[in-house]
Subunit: 107 residues, 2 copies
DNA sequence: TTATAGTACCTTGCGATACAAGGTATTATA
DNA sequence: TATAATACCTTGTATCGCAAGGTACTATAA
């Protein structure tokens, strides 16, 4: 029984949405995001996150700026662009639709 | 902006769960499932559904039986097995967890 | 009887993406 | 000066949804 696989599949598509929800509230750099999503019980790997952030940036949904750190190398802080905020609103709607679907099917 | 792509990604992982929710209530054959999920606003393609049903059957989560049709060729009706019911309960828990995560991130 | 349309099942090839593993660069500390 | 810690990124693999194409059976019309 591969429930773990299905479970991870269920979480897969939600990742972008969750990351955008996070960035809607505050700018973050990669390790911030990993940390905060872990607190929200969603595990993300570095190898997943970096390409995903690049993808969203190339799509114009995210921007970033370098900030110095007192602890090590500089950090790349990502922020939602106006297009990103608009996309997030559409994803909010998609999430609502999925919720409705599941609740409908659960009767 | 590829919101459609992200939206479809969001739905991706939910498909198995939704199909199992459906089969929990009644046995269905493929076109039944496509029809009923469409009513629940979740679009599924044949090329997606058939391999998915085979996968779940091979994992022992679904069984099937052939039934004659008055309208054409016989139909393959799928039903949740006991293992399938158990897996569904675990997916219910995963869905609850994802809901909590999203609501937590939405504040 | 034969041809056509409808229904139902399945497979192949492609693209997208999460993840594991490995790599590079910068900074602080021993 | 060497090591550890932090931070960024890339490559290779496996999975999976989807579009397109294919086979088979049944009913209907010519």
């Amino acid at each position: 029984m591969n429930t773990d696989n299905t479970k991870s599949q269920m979480r897969k598509g939600m990742l972008e949405y969750c990351i955008m929800l996070l960035l809607h509230r505050q700018s973050c750099y990669a390790n911030d995001i990993i940390q905060r999503l872990r607190e929200a019980e969603m595990i993300v790997m570095e190898g997943t996150l970096y390409p995903l952030l690049s993808r969203l940036k190339n799509d114009g949904l995210l921007g970033y700026e370098w900030r110095e750190s007192t602890q090590g190398p500089p950090r790349k802080y990502y922020t939602l662009t106006a297009d990103g905020e608009e996309a997030l609103r559409q994803l909010d709607a998609s999430w609502e639709e999925i919720s409705r679907t599941v609740n409908f099917l659960k009767q």
